[in-house]
């Protein structure tokens, strides 16, 4: 059954917000406004938005070094996200995290910079839910690089053995930084490797937002009812470089052109137009609105002060609790 038009347009808007956000950050970075680096997820918007649309507010999202899209899909406010990336006091972590370590517990969202590492933390949070008998789940994003990390395999196995309420969503964009999956694994479907742990494991078109949403919804149902974890491999492609220094030496222009034809946003725009008869006007309006909110977010972030040096030693220790 097709989604209601309003819902389809909302999914579209969220994908567009990620794409424009990344482009805005790229612009700000180039103009010296961002301290550090940025790993953009342009081209991978459907897996982020589709997956996050399938979970509830009190579920938890674990993210990666390439996490801006996950954060926006999760509903983290633009203003504070941009402030965090620019090292400002209004960021979720008061700028301590930056691009790779966005954490907002209010939104049940944690990102960290080590490949596959947050899946382990996420498995622990899922264990806490299981022990406390809370019907909550963890949605844990990773890239294809994670599948060659030892700790990732340890945690997949542990989650399967303990039947924990977690969904491992692997965005396979074919390249771990510059290394193609053909150089790093024999089986090209990562789900086949994970199947051996005895959990449900599937590969889908990660650029098809409705398929992602539907697949994750059914996985969430599985996890929430005590049937254990599910692994979902979303095949996708990163149109942007790995990070800000990428010269694209490792892939061909032909391959990029092939994937650009499968742009998840353009694809979905076409579907909405065909299915609901929406006009160009609607999309033009959405583009304008998203651009406006991003302009406002950039102004907000630029006006937010840097954290004071006096706050440097805050939170070195957790002082709550402990000895009376």
């Amino acid at each position: 059954m097709a989604l209601p038009l309003e819902e389809a347009l909302e999914l579209y808007r969220r994908m567009l917000r990620i794409r424009f956000f990344e482009k805005k950050m790229d612009f700000l970075f180039t103009h010296g406004q961002v301290h550090g680096t940025c790993h953009f997820s342009i081209g991978q918007e459907a897996s982020a938005v589709g997956a996050c649309a399938a979970i509830q507010e009190d579920d938890v999202v674990m993210s990666t070094h390439r996490g801006h899209g996950h954060a926006l899909a999760r509903g983290l406010p633009l203003n504070n996200l941009m402030a965090e990336l620019m090292g400002r006091v209004d960021g979720f972590c008061s700028g301590r995290g930056g691009t790779q370590h966005v954490m907002s517990w209010k939104h049940h969202f944690i990102a960290n910079g080590i490949t596959g590492g947050t899946a382990v933390t996420g498995t622990g949070i899922a264990l806490a839910f299981a022990l406390k008998k809370e019907p909550r789940v963890v949605l844990s994003f990773s890239g294809d690089g994670a599948i060659n990390e030892g700790h990732y395999h340890e945690t997949l196995n542990l989650a399967a053995v303990w039947k924990l309420p977690i969904i491992f969503l692997c965005e396979n964009n074919l390249y771990a930084m510059s290394t193609h999956t053909k150089e790093s694994m024999v089986l090209q479907d990562i789900s086949k490797r994970v199947e051996s742990y005895g959990m449900k494991s599937i590969t889908i078109d990660g650029n098809d937002i409705e398929m992602v949403k539907e697949t994750v919804s059914s996985a969430v149902q599985n996890a929430r009812t005590g049937l254990g974890p599910v692994f979902i491999e979303c095949k996708t492609y990163r149109f942007s470089g790995h990070s800000k220094n990428d010269l694209f030496l490792y892939r061909t222009r032909e391959e990029e052109a092939q994937w650009l034809k499968k742009d998840p946003i353009e694809k979905y725009e076409k579907i909405i137009k065909e299915r609901y008869g929406e006009s160009n006007e609607t999309f033009k309006r959405i583009h304008q609105e998203v651009e406006q909110e991003l302009d406002a977010a950039a102004i907000f972030a630029q006006n937010s002060p840097f954290p004071p040096e006096a706050s440097l030693l805050d939170h070195c220790w957790c002082s709550e609790g402990g000895l009376p």
């Binding site: 938890v60 979720f92 972590c93 008061s94 301590r96 995290g97 370590h101 954490m103 907002s104 517990w105 209010k106 944690i110 960290n112 910079g113 080590i114 590492g117 947050t118 382990v120 933390t121 996420g122 498995t123 622990g124 949070i125 899922a126 264990l127 806490a128 839910f129 022990l131 406390k132 030892g150 700790h151 340890e154 945690t155 196995n157 542990l158 053995v161 805050d314 939170h315 070195c316 220790w317 957790c318 002082s319 709550e320 609790g321 402990g322 000895l323």
Partner: protein, 322 residues
Amino acid sequence: MREITYIEAIREALTEELERDSKVFMLGEDIGTYGGAFGVSKGFVQKFGLDRIRNTPMSEAALVGVSAGCAIGGMRPIVEIMFMDFLTLCMDQLLNHAVKYHHVSNGQLKVPLVIRTAAGGGRGYGATHSQSLEPLLISIPGLKIVYPSTPYDAKGLLKASIRDNNIVIFIENKLLYATRGIVPEEEYLLPIGKAKVIQLGDDVTIITYSRYLQESIAAAKESNLSVEIVDLRSLAPLDMETISTSVKKTGKVIIIEEGCLTGGIGAEIASKVMENCFDYLDFPIQRVAAKDIPIPCSPTLEKATLPSKQDIVEALSKIKNR
């Protein structure tokens, strides 16, 4: 007052905290029916059930990482890493994840986690099951490191560690498990980060911890010097106040540890003593530690690698003969 062993003291602390707080639970390799490699959790499964005494696969990285996540999720896990040598398998989850979450999230995330592990040589376990790797840990900001030398300290500090909202590495020395000491029956907690002056003296300060406390006491008895002995009990936070007070009184320092000399706990403390007490020092700071080699299995070679009471006696006599 009753006397119990170090291992019984640890077992009592765990039992009391498991009974007190339903959020506290344990996980580790072979801690279930087997009762743990050293028998610490003997009988726990029968008492607390499989959910709270969780046997795990041999996946140390996942163990520490999952425990950290579980702590963020509102539980208070105690994870057992069978041998301290295996902590190296968990380093990324400890260093890049667990210990980063609280500070980097600007205080949003809390990780109340205890990692218990058995350390030290003297039992012929060889190069990969005998090490004292605490020097690797002291340079990680945000970790608390506790290393008790007596049953009394073991119980009071473990209970405090379990109630602490930080990540505490609680190190147990294999050769101390069977040692006995006075432990009160009524409940008590000991503060983390406070050293203890074991005996007062005027000529020299011995700074040590864990197994080398008893060796130091014995060596001090053999010398004719008036020896002050400081038992660190916690390596992080380090109680520089107690150390400095003692050093300023005696002007002479010997630092004794079981791990390798280079880059050891003694190196760090020696630097801090120089920074804090330079004008009070009358003699070069001395370090007694293991030789900088992998620990051999053969008993004669193992003995020659690890520091001995004789090494401490010799360090004391250098001071005496000055």
